[in-house]
């Protein structure tokens, strides 16, 4: 309107008054409002919970794998006492025989003192092991990847030392494998549930926050904005909100694991720490854990942005639907 006639400017600024300065252009979507802040808060909480669950499940899986690995790394040769048996020689023979098999790494004879310590919870202190017919143990470390031939070893042992019994821990290993798998499965299920809850919460919270901005979508649409332009304006706005929220939640979760790991490291060998380690494993997240937190943040950001885009496009579609179907007056602006 450069050729607008000046004679109609009845309240034009007086001469020599300095030109008014225009403030820096504000974003089309208001940067902060109650629904936007609430959405950011919801995203932060959900990101925190999701990252916490992710870290916890990673720990449980690692602990389960470690149980399995520790127990399947060793086999035990048990030698029952016998009047005609030189126990110490039999222990050495059993160890040496076991170590001749490919797939074994190391053999340790559990000495008398250690055996007494093992029995201490049941038989009390000051136990004289020679007075009791207590079986003795040889612990053989094996290569988990290529274990020895247990049946051949069992046969060779029984031929050389009839009192020897090979326990390859298969029963325990199988049980632990089943338990570890169940634990990991439950953990993964919990993770899926928390992520599903996060997805739904973020989607509905975004839609809720957007519903307060419907009038902006309508005005933009009616001043000739293309749907893609309107969608991109809202996308930018909600991307920023989701990044702030998910960063806050992810950072808090990472901080939680860092503090827990630090506490565990400082209180090592104390009963509390040992109990926590036995139950939960170590609180160290590792690179994968932090990568998971970053991935969670990215997922939330993408989710929020896409929800904003689809909701805006749907709003515009509804406005256009009214156009082609006048009976849908519920969506109609008062034009």
């Amino acid at each position: 309107m450069t050729d607008a006639p000046r004679e109609t400017a009845e309240t034009a600024a007086p001469a020599r008054r300095p030109e008014m300065r225009v403030r820096p252009t504000a974003p089309i979507v208001p940067p902060a409002n109650v629904s936007g802040r609430a959405l950011m808060f919801v995203i932060a909480i959900m990101a925190f919970l999701a990252c916490l669950t992710f870290g916890a499940v990673s720990m449980v899986r690692a602990t389960a794998a470690s149980w399995q690995s520790q127990i399947s790394r060793e086999i035990t040769i048990q030698i029952k006492p016998d009047d005609n048996l030189d126990m110490e020689q039999a222990l050495k023979d059993a160890r040496d025989l076991a170590l001749t098999f490919a797939g074994t790494r190391d053999g340790t004879i559990v000495d008398k003192a250690a055996t007494a310590r093992l029995l201490e919870p049941w038989l009390g202190e000051g136990l004289d092991i020679d007075e009791l017919p207590v079986p003795r143990l040889v612990i053989v470390t094996i290569d988990e990847q290529s274990p020895p031939d247990f049946s051949a070893m069992r046969k060779a042992l029984s031929e050389k030392i009839p009192q020897a019994f090979l326990d390859d821990h298969r029963t325990w290993v199988d049980r632990l494998v089943a338990m570890a798998r169940t634990t990991a499965f439950i953990g993964t299920g919990v993770l899926v549930l928390v992520f599903s809850a996060m997805v739904l919460t973020v989607v509905f919270a975004t839609r809720g926050a957007l519903s307060g901005n419907r009038h902006i979508v309508e005005v933009l649409h009616f001043v000739g904005a293309e749907a893609s332009f309107v969608a991109s304006e809202f996308q930018k706005h909600f991307l920023l909100i989701s990044l702030k929220g998910s960063f806050a939640g992810g950072f808090l979760a990472a901080l939680f694991f860092a503090i827990a790991g630090f506490w565990q490291g400082r209180s090592i060998a104390t009963p509390q720490s040992d109990q926590a380690t036995a139950l939960f494993g170590t609180f160290s997240m590792g690179f994968t854990g932090y990568l998971g937190i970053v991935a969670t943040m990215v997922v939330i950001a993408i989710l929020t942005t896409l929800t904003a885009r689809f909701t805006v496009m749907r709003t515009i579609y509804e406005i256009d639907l009214v156009r082609s179907d006048p009976s849908r007056t519920d969506q109609l602006p008062d034009t």
Binding site: A4, I28, V223, E226, P333, D334, T335
Partner: protein, 240 residues
């Protein structure tokens, strides 16, 4: 005035214009759902550079007719040609381009409360992807023209009803539309302000924009010798 019930080829000046009218209605009818027809057998043109009032009693269908003119509704029957295109054949994604050729002043202004007067008026240019530097002078000049030169950094909640009305009008005019639709543009202002706004519309029309003003205000219509479109019980009578 000469009455032409139901049909008009256009105002005197527009008859001299070559080519097609801006908008052409032919036997247009509209009903909401299964209800009665709100508009019946409307056949008329909105010629280029024409100026007309659209009036009638409350509930006669003025706002609905404006919606049809603004492409925010499709008729249940009949043909509407806008800018020489039949609107039922226009794909959705082409509507924004056509709406850019039409300025509309909503009855409730529809200003965005978080944007200043300047930003609200500049909004149509902004959504067209123009750089702020390219339109700043034009927006400031238009704001002075409508008497809001001192209110450029004010947010709408602080503006008076008349100021909001003028800001809404300025927003509708900023991209020099070929057609301006105004729904009760003087409904919230006192008579002197109404006269100022009317002179503004006349000036705009003089510069080449066709203007349709929906109003109840008889005194406003009496100030100008212009075409009158009177809606009554869904039918349209046109007085040239």
């Amino acid at each position: 005035m000469r009455r032409r019930p139901g049909y008009c080829h256009g105002g005197g000046r527009a008859l001299l214009e070559p080519g097609w009218p801006l908008i052409h209605f032919e036997n247009v009818g509209l009903r909401y759902g299964m209800g009665p027809e709100i508009l019946r057998d409307l056949t008329f043109d909105i010629p280029r550079r024409s100026f007309q009032f659209l009036t009638g009693p409350s509930g006669a269908g003025k706002t609905t007719l404006l919606r049809l003119l603004f492409l925010s509704l499709q008729p249940t029957r009949g043909i509407i040609r806008t800018f020489d295109r039949e609107i039922s054949t226009i794909p959705r994604d082409e509507l924004p381009m056509l709406r850019r050729r039409i300025g509309i002043v909503f009855q409730d202004f529809r200003l965005l409360d978080h944007l200043t007067t300047y930003e609200n008026v500049a909004l149509p240019l902004r959504v067209r992807g123009k750089e702020e530097a390219s339109y700043r002078a034009d927006v400031l000049e238009l704001l002075k023209w409508v008497g809001l030169g001192e209110r450029i950094n004010v947010l709408p909640p602080v503006l008076s009803g008349g100021e909001k009305q003028r800001a809404a009008i300025a927003r509708a005019l900023i991209d020099r539309p070929e057609l301006l639709l105004a729904d009760e543009p003087t409904g919230n202002v006192d008579p002197p302000m109404a006269r100022r706004l009317l002179s503004l519309f006349l000036e705009l029309n003089r510069l080449g924009t066709a203007v349709v003003i929906a109003t109840h205000d008889l005194s406003l219509m009496d100030q100008v010798e212009a075409r009158r479109m009177i809606l009554s019980q869904g039918r349209l009578d046109i007085y040239d």
